[in-house]
């Protein structure tokens, strides 16, 4: 039942109890039911969405595609779409319309 072997890479050792180097336990992207989609024609790259994003997962680019989302952390809350002054963001259901 118990896997009690220390990690066998010389540079790694077993740690007991709750701790992390990498925050994998808070992958909030797995909660997402809707995702924001940007209309590149309407977006003016003002960055309001990025400033309001509670998980700070929006990057605004000066050229090319206006926005990037970190889908590991975007939980689909929709605040960006609500705050966008140009209504350039729309929330669309994940996994189709059904």
């Amino acid at each position: 039942m118990q896997q009690n072997t220390p990690m066998n890479t010389p540079s790694k050792r077993r740690v007991l109890g709750p701790c992390s180097h990498v925050l994998v336990a808070a992958n909030t992207g797995s909660w997402r039911l809707e995702r924001p989609e940007v209309d590149a024609e309407l977006c003016v790259r003002c960055g309001t969405c990025a400033r309001y994003c509670p998980t700070a997962c929006i990057t605004v680019h000066k050229e090319g595609d206006p926005l990037d989302f970190d889908w590991n952390y975007c939980k689909g809350c929709g605040i960006c779409a609500n705050e966008c002054p140009k209504q350039a963001l729309t929330m669309v259901p994940e996994g189709g319309d059904d």
Binding site: Q2, N4, L16, G17, P18, C19, S20, H21, A25, A26
Partner: protein, 401 residues
């Protein structure tokens, strides 16, 4: 090895000094206060090279202790009674994060009523928090068990904090002779602190005690369970090494004249010496009486208890806490579970609450009841002993008309 005079708190301070802590965070509370005070004296006099953090509560004291020890330094703290209750939350953090803090706890009753005096309600309330618990019978054992507790708690297979429990006033303020190892011999035994698990290091950052999802929580509790399993073995190894080095035998459980005993009591803490005295008296009168003292309460040495008591006909387990609402007091519950399946009759006794003395008379009364059952004169025993007959009417007010 020198013979010194210490009260119980002094012996705890001496053991802490010998273990050379780097950080001390203690909040004074009767009857622990002289530990906090004398640790401060030792630091001020340069006999302990430590940072003494003046905290505003026991909750903070344990928080400082956990944080400081995670940087890789041995930490000292101590508490009692409601101080331990206030610490409860952070005691769980120390245990779950596997920070092997050694803490003397000077046993004192919990509220209400307010009391300054000894019973085990404070540490018994912490018995499932994930700390090892050792209960001292005399002042010498406070020094011995505290030194051993560092080795046990910090062992890489255990990594579990430890409480060394000493009865308030009965031990904490009782001056006794203590064989004390010299500094170098003690240091050679305790050894420098080495961090063996997670750590706080600004050059190699780690997030400690983060939110743990359901799919890993059971595994981390299982790790603690394994730590307790190992602690039982490591305790015996460390006790054997201590005896080899310093010549004193320490016990997880101590059997006293049990081999042919018909009746026996199970004791814990400072009451045990009185119990042995009464056993000797009864033996002189031809009563086959014996005693089992539990020193290591967590992990509970169930197999050793069952083995030691297997031939005793009638057993009385003396709890120094009320165990309100429970089928039995906490010690009796454990003993009954350990002896489940044997033919012994086991009765729980409750007394010695908030400093009430458990006297030789108390033990004679308990043995009398046990003997009555053993010889068929009685079916059962009275659970509470030394309680005034007018217990329900000790306060009265005039009824307004």
């Amino acid at each position: 090895m020198a013979v010194k005079m210490f009260d119980g708190n002094g012996a705890a301070v001496e053991a802490i000094r010998l273990a050379r802590p780097g950080v001390i965070a203690a909040y004074p509370i009767t009857p622990q206060s002289s530990i906090a005070e004398h640790l401060a004296d030792e630091v001020a006099a340069g006999r302990i090279d430590a940072e003494y953090v003046r905290v505003e509560s026991e909750h903070s004291a344990m928080s400082v202790a956990v944080g400081a020890q995670l940087t890789g330094v041995r930490v000292a703290t101590a508490t009692a009674s409601v101080g331990l209750a206030l610490m409860h939350e952070v005691c769980g953090v120390a245990a779950g994060c596997r920070v092997p803090i050694v803490m003397p706890v000077v046993n004192r009753s919990l509220v209400a009523p307010w009391s300054l005096w000894c019973d085990h309600s404070d540490t018994m309330a912490e018995r499932d928090t994930g700390w090892l618990q050792y209960y001292c019978a005399n002042v010498q054992e406070i020094l011995d068990l505290t030194l051993c507790a560092y080795r046990i708690a910090e062992h890489e297979d255990v990594m579990t904090p430890a409480m060394v429990c000493l009865d308030g006033f009965f031990l904490s303020h009782s001056m006794q002779r203590v064989d004390t190892p010299d500094d170098e011999a003690a240091w050679d035994f305790v050894k420098p602190y080495v961090r063996k698990n997670m750590y706080l290091d600004t050059n190699d950052v780690m997030f400690i005690n983060d939110l743990c999802p359901t799919d890993e929580h059971s595994e981390i509790k299982y790790q603690q369970y394994v730590g307790f399993q190992e602690a039982a073995r490591v305790t015996k190894e460390v006790f054997a090494e201590y005896e080899e080095r310093f010549g004193r035998k320490l016990h997880t459980v101590e059997s006293y004249r049990l081999d042919d005993a018909d009746v026996a009591v199970v004791t814990i803490g400072s009451m045990s010496g009185t119990g042995k005295y009464v056993v000797n008296q009864l033996r002189e009168q031809g009563v086959k009486a014996g005693l089992l003292r539990i020193c290591m309460f967590r992990p509970f040495p169930a197999e050793e208890v069952a083995e030691a008591l297997k031939n005793v006909k009638v057993i009385g387990v003396v709890d120094r806490s009320a165990g309100l609402g429970a089928a039995q007091g906490p010690v009796c519950t454990e003993v009954k579970a350990a002896c489940c399946g044997t033919s012994s009759k086991i009765f729980g006794f409750c007394g010695g609450i908030a400093g009430r003395d458990i006297s030789d008379g108390s033990f004679r009364k308990i043995f009398g009841e046990l003997t009555d059952v053993a010889e068929g004169r009685s079916e059962t025993c009275e659970r509470w002993f030394d309680v005034k007959p007018n217990a329900m009417n000790i306060r009265e007010v005039d009824v307004p008309c």
